[in-house]
């Protein structure tokens, strides 16, 4: 045990791995969010339609560009894709008034238009991860103009899943209006502690894994990069959170078809573009049943579900993802690239 602790202490004395290293420029900036455009590989693009990645509102975007060798973005760029990613930035106090419509309609709409305009393709391949996928699906259902294909990665669609978060937000005593009135933006610490409650022994388990792999530098680098990301979260804009909880969690409005975006019905049955839903067997944050519901709701004729083992984050950034998940998603886009770039 002591030798493991010494090995770990030596690892801690070295710098932590750098995250989000794939070179990118800022294609657009508005309020706190920005659209990043990753620099193409030297031999240029191999595919015409751009890819727009939409991460969760409460996590940093660089989970999709974790570290060299473990980056979905880096891998896509090397394959010849034109990749854009939304960085939601850090909301400040005034963003308590930012609504669900501002983010899902205005901001995502602008990101797609900028990506399409710059790349010269009329439509983009849109990938939403976690809550980012929920936003992407709602946007695509109401504003399909620039959505060529839609990929939903561990995306909650049905919110009455029996999980702890779903049950807690539906208790009579949980007053979401009071939370937003009291806090403005909902602090990430509050949400993180709720996530910790999903598996309260996780911290101990992580410590044991660290000790077990005390001599495995490659594993530890990935582990620390993921921990850096996991502890670098952002607060949830207040007005947006209130609607998220009251209509999506409590009313399950997406499944019932009663959700609206900027006053227009946001019915997932209006999704007609090629659709890929990725679900994970051991996902404790978004149970696969909650993510798979979109397959029943969407009217797309070209729709596929990829069900893999692994958890909410590990399955997206692990070594295994580079040989399984990433090629599967890229092939889905590449097979539809011409059609996506040609459609007017």
């Amino acid at each position: 045990m002591l030798d493991r602790l010494v090995a770990l202490a030596q690892r801690f004395s070295r710098p932590m791995p750098a995250v989000g290293q794939t070179p990118a420029r800022e294609a657009h900036r508005e309020n706190k969010w920005r659209l990043l455009h990753y620099v193409a590989r030297p031999e240029g693009r191999a595919f015409r339609a751009p890819i727009v990645l939409i991460p969760s509102l409460i996590n940093r975007h660089y989970v999709l560009d974790l570290m060299p060798g473990k980056s979905f973005v880096e891998w896509l760029v090397a394959r010849g894709h034109d990749v854009y990613c939304i960085d939601w930035g850090t909301p400040t106090d005034e963003d308590r008034f930012l609504t669900f419509d501002d983010i899902t309609d205005k901001y995502i709409g602008r990101a797609l238009r900028v990506a399409c305009r710059e790349s010269g393709a009329p439509k983009a391949h849109v990938l939403g991860y976690c809550l980012g996928g929920t936003l992407a699906a709602i946007h695509a259902a109401v504003r399909p103009e620039h959505v060529g294909t839609l990929t939903l990665l561990a995306t909650p669609v049905g919110f009455h899943d029996g999980g702890m978060l779903s049950r807690w937000t539906r208790t009579r005593s949980f007053d979401v209006r009071a939370v937003v009135d009291g806090l403005g933006n909902v602090p990430w610490q509050l949400m993180q502690s709720a996530f910790h409650m999903l598996r309260p022994t996780m911290t101990l388990s992580k410590a044991t894994t660290m000790l077990d792999k005390a001599w495995d530098d490659e594993f530890l680098d990935g582990f620390f990069a993921l921990e850096t990301w996991g502890n670098d979260n952002v607060s949830f804009p207040g007005a947006c959170y209130e609607r998220y909880i009251s209509e999506l969690y409590r009313d399950d409005a997406l499944v019932k078809g009663t959700f609206t975006l900027s006053g227009e019905p946001a019915r997932l049955e209006n999704l007609t573009c090629p659709l890929l839903a990725v679900t994970f067997e051991h996902d404790a944050i978004v149970p696969w049943q909650s993510a798979a519901v979109v397959m029943e709701l969407a009217r797309s004729t070209d729709k596929h579900r990829l069900h893999l083992t692994g958890g909410h984050v590990g399955a997206v950034v692990s070594k295994k993802a580079a040989s399984g998940l990433w090629p599967a998603i890229a092939t889905f886009w590449e097979d539809r690239d011409e059609a996506c770039a040609a459609r007017g």
Binding site: M1, R4, E30, N31, T92, D93, E94, D95, R96, F97, L98, D102, K106, R110, R113, G162, G163, M164, R167, W168, T171, R172, S173, F174, D175, A178, V179, D181, G182, L183, G184, M197, L198, R199, P200, T201, M202, L204, S205, T208, D212
Partner: protein
């Protein structure tokens, strides 16, 4: 090495059992209802305290924190509308040419 492997084996068994038990316990209304009530109560108290402080501040005719937040939000909304207009103008120009 043997001791560590044995420890890990016991730990994994304990962790799986404990996590399962705690997950079930955390989902119980006996935990969730009081947790919700505590959080909502604390937030209502905080909102009331903020309102009282803002009221006292307002007596001197000074803008409150909420006033400043509203103004900054309005500026952000104006920025978005300007960007909308720029996009529309660019589209009209493109249509003409």
């Amino acid at each position: 090495m043997m001791t560590w492997d044995l420890f890990k084996q016991y730990f994994n068994t304990w962790e799986n059992l404990t996590a399962k038990y705690m997950e079930e316990w955390m989902k119980s209304p006996l935990v969730l209802e009081p947790a919700g009530a505590w959080l909502s109560g604390a937030m209502k108290a905080k909102a009331q305290a903020d309102k009282t402080i803002a009221g006292a501040w307002g007596v001197f005719g000074l803008p409150t924190k909420r006033d400043q937040e509203r103004s900054l939000h309005a500026l952000n909304q104006i920025q978005s509308r300007l960007l909308d207009l720029e996009e529309q103008i660019a589209a009209l120009k493109a249509d003409k040419t």
